[in-house]
């Protein structure tokens, strides 16, 4: 199993192939499944992602608690006039749409967690659409994303309770950044730089869910994460390099997570969770 981003890049460069092709081949060898079986399984996950994104932009989906709902729909409707451009607006809309579905007890794919489940679909569905990519090509890019996520999980953490939001939404954003670079025809090296830039952007981000629920600020952070992934990919493909190599950024993220007090790691005892409004909402539920 490939354990570092550097190894991932070098192996893909050596074979002159995409990261996704490399990891699918290696995964087939290590699990005993065929590459086709792995692809079909990823494809079925992709269908769940797409369905959730479509549901959340088509209608106003309210959460069980009633605190959030409809953000994906609102952003989708405003995409045509968005100052940041329609790609950014649609990625944000889809990310929040999936997150809305999650908070409403709908079906989603943890990527890597339920709390961060909107980021990857938001980014890859929107970039895929913009570049007229086929569903199969988007499914391929998910293998690249999961390989990146696994390296982060192996060397740091993807759990908000252990590492804060930088670990959950940060990992999702880094995964999405690598997937977007691949979708857009960038190199494995550029994907690695995008991973590093995406993770650095949210280093230290706390996990501070109001009332302990995956809603505030999670739904909107999913939007930010998807957009950040696309920008990190654009930066990398413009030739901008991360001064700090991605593997070192991952270790730094882990260390920051360790230094963070528990109050800022999914306990709802810090950040926006303990603001007067956060507390009031918490008491109401």
């Amino acid at each position: 199993m490939i354990r570092t981003i550097e190894e991932l890049v070098i192996s893909a460069e050596k074979r002159d192939c995409k990261i996704s092709a490399l990891v699918r081949e290696l995964e087939a060898k290590s699990t005993g499944s065929t590459e086709e079986e792995l692809f079909q399984r990823m494809r079925s996950y992709f269908e769940v992602m797409k369905e959730a994104a479509n549901r959340g932009v088509a209608g106003e989906i309210r959460s069980i608690s009633g605190i959030t709902g409809g953000e994906g729909r609102k952003m989708w409707n405003a995409a045509g006039t968005a100052l940041a451009g329609s790609t950014v607006a649609k990625a944000a809309a889809r990310a929040m749409a999936v997150s809305n579905v999650n908070a409403s007890m709908g079906k989603i794919v943890a990527a890597p967690t339920a709390g961060s489940c909107g980021i990857l679909p938001g980014a890859v569905l929107t970039v895929g659409e913009k570049l007229s990519k086929s569903d199969d090509e988007i499914v391929d890019s998910l293998f690249t994303a999961s390989a990146v996520g696994r390296i982060i999980a192996l060397n740091a953490t993807i759990s908000g309770a252990e590492g804060g939001c930088q670990a959950e939404c940060g990992a999702a954003s880094a995964m999405a950044a690598a997937a977007v670079v691949e979708l857009a025809g960038g190199s494995p090296r550029q994907a690695a730089h995008a991973v590093a830039m995406a993770l650095k952007a949210v280093m230290g981000l706390v996990c501070d869910p109001v009332a302990g629920l995956v809603e505030v600020p999670c739904v909107k952070r999913n939007a930010m994460g998807a957009v950040e992934a696309i920008l990190a990919a654009d930066m990398a493909m413009a030739g901008i390099e991360s001064v700090i190599p991605p593997d070192e950024v991952i270790i730094a993220m882990k260390e920051v997570g360790r230094m963070m007090p528990d109050r800022l790691k999914e306990t709802a005892m810090g950040g926006v969770a303990v603001t007067p409004t956060g507390k009031r909402l918490s008491e109401k539920i």
């Binding site: 079925s44 069980i64 989603i108 943890a110 990527a111 339920a114 999961s146």
Partner: protein
């Protein structure tokens, strides 16, 4: 760790620990009862009690008792489904207890012929751990095919069970025996990496001093 541990599982939101994990706990409790539950009293502790409603933990626990998988869209309406199937349930918030995992549930279940009490916790990412069965301390995850035997605490019982398993070519990954009082009822938990061999339940149940055999398959 395989790639689908990172992208995946497909699940009903909003929380892998408070929703998907809660469904799996309900499923495990149902499997340990070994028949359709008719009555259930569930005590939820700590974070499960405090943030459970907003996470749909209550619905998820009942959905699990009904045998729904973590990606079943009926989780959201599990209370109505329980009504249709004649499951009478009661959900109670327990006193805060620091000695328990933050996401703990205690199930007291009754089926047509049996009763059982199962305690378990949701340890993150949808993974769960069963910590007590009928007052016996246990520790298993349900991620692997698992055999549970209830037997009389007599010398040689473990040897007889493992001999039968070896004859079936069955490799034990993890095993634990627990009892409350010497010479009385005891519990054996056996986990494996492989599928359980056919007919294993009947073979083990025929062993002297074994009162009951349960097979728990991964949910």
């Amino acid at each position: 760790m395989n790639l689908f541990d990172i992208i995946g599982p497909v699940m009903i939101g909003p929380s892998s620990s408070h929703t998907a994990g809660a469904v799996r706990l309900g499923n495990m409790a149902r499997n340990i009862l070994g028949e359709e539950p008719r009555r259930a009293r569930i005590i939820v502790y700590n974070s499960f009690a405090k943030t459970g409603r907003g996470h749909g933990t209550d619905k998820a626990l009942i959905a699990g008792l009904l045998g729904f998988a973590p990606d079943d869209e009926r989780i959201k309406t599990s209370f109505e489904e329980a009504g249709k199937r004649g499951l009478v349930y009661e959900l109670v918030a327990g006193e805060d207890d620091d000695s328990l995992h933050p996401n703990t549930a205690l199930f007291a279940l009754e089926g047509a012929t049996r009763k059982t009490e199962v305690m378990g916790c949701s340890i993150g990412g949808g993974r769960v751990k069963i910590t007590a069965v009928d007052g016996f301390e246990v520790d298993f995850s349900g991620e692997y095919p698992t055999i549970i035997t209830v037997h009389r605490d007599r010398p040689g019982i473990v040897a007889r069970v493992t001999t039968h398993l070896a004859e079936k070519g069955f490799n034990i990954a993890r095993m634990r025996v627990s009892r409350k009082t010497k010479g009385e009822k005891a519990l054996m938990i056996i986990e494996t990496d492989e599928p359980l061999p056919e007919g294993i339940k009947e073979v083990l149940a025929s062993i002297e001093d074994i009162c009951r055999v349960l097979l728990i398959l991964p949910v």
